[in-house]
């Protein structure tokens, strides 16, 4: 079965093309481009990706409007059925606003927009999205965000840590995130949200290819199931 993915485009998304190209190149499969106003998603998806950008101009709160757009009901429904869902940057914000991931992403502690390569630690190398990495591996992935300051109450943070749901952690101060959390998984492990952009680090011309393994993990996971 060829790999089939959907990349959602909201008004104001700007990493949707990069995301689609990354998935296409790494999987050799098909990527459906889905508009936020569509009420349905194709069947048989192996991955749904919510890209970065500034959906709805970040009005109200980053990701707040997009999380209530028609297509998100279908995303929530498919996530509930176990379809892998990846949210990057604004996509992560949308996933928290939609209630698919705990916590919230607030204005960076330093107020400024942060746009640079950051070092991350792979905290959980056994998840659907990270199994191709080594446990504790240090990887370099770029960030570009204004609202990436991850917040959740202490009880939630303890639970995330205890359940191995912190996928990635910043190895350097980045945005003031609680416990330097850069990416979190949902309880079932089929939804990942992360502020860094793996789709911007998939070939040497990007300055590195540490992002490839995230997509390869999803591919391998599906091959292992097949």
């Amino acid at each position: 079965m060829p790999f089939t993915a959907a990349v959602i485009t909201f008004p104001g998304s700007n990493c949707d093309r990069d995301m689609a190209v990354a998935i296409e190149e790494i999987s050799g499969g098909t990527v459906h481009r889905v508009w936020h106003g569509d009420a349905a998603l194709p069947d048989g998806l192996d991955l749904i990706a919510l890209p970065g950008g500034f959906s709805y101009g970040d009005y109200l709160r980053s990701g707040a409007m997009a999380a209530r757009s028609p297509v998100m009901q279908a995303v929530v429904e498919q996530a509930g059925r176990g379809v892998p869902v990846l949210g990057v940057c604004n996509g992560f914000q949308v996933l928290t606003e939609a209630g698919l991931l705990p916590g919230a992403l607030m204005r960076n502690a330093g107020i400024r927009f942060v746009c640079r390569d950051v070092k991350l630690k792979v905290e959980n190398a056994s998840s659907l999205f990270t199994s191709a990495y080594l446990p504790g591996q240090t990887i370099t992935i770029p960030v570009a965000h204004h609202d990436g300051n991850y917040y959740a109450d202490a009880e939630t943070l303890d639970r995330l840590e205890g359940e191995g749901r912190v996928a990635f952690r910043y190895l350097e101060a980045c945005n003031g995130s609680q416990r330097d959390i850069a990416g979190v998984l949902n309880e079932k492990g089929n939804v990942l949200g992360m502020m860094p952009h793996p789709e911007r680090m998939i070939e040497p011309a990007h300055g590195g290819s540490d992002g490839r393994k995230l997509f390869e993990s999803v591919l391998h996971g599906l091959n292992a199931l097949a």
Partner: protein
């Protein structure tokens, strides 16, 4: 009927914008400001018949993010 929804950050949630405003006020020479918290005011013009529960639901579903924010509904005489 005019309704004002005041959205504010919960206690204990760090407010980077409030802190920046605080620093700016100090930079302008204003002394005696202990703390600044930035929130959001949303004004709605709604039917007089609207139910309180509906207003509450609007806040919980969209206007406030209950993970980090509180809200207060204020009805203003039209």
């Amino acid at each position: 009927m005019k309704v004002r929804v005041h959205v504010s950050l919960k206690n204990g949630v760090l407010d980077p914008q409030g802190r920046a405003i605080h620093h700016a006020l100090e930079g302008l020479g204003f002394d005696g400001v202990n703390d600044v918290r930035a929130g959001r005011l949303i004004e709605l013009d709604v039917a007089d018949t609207i139910a309180d529960e509906a207003l509450d639901e609007m806040c919980r579903k969209l206007l406030a993010n209950m993970v980090i924010e509180n809200y207060r509904i204020e009805k203003v005489a039209a």
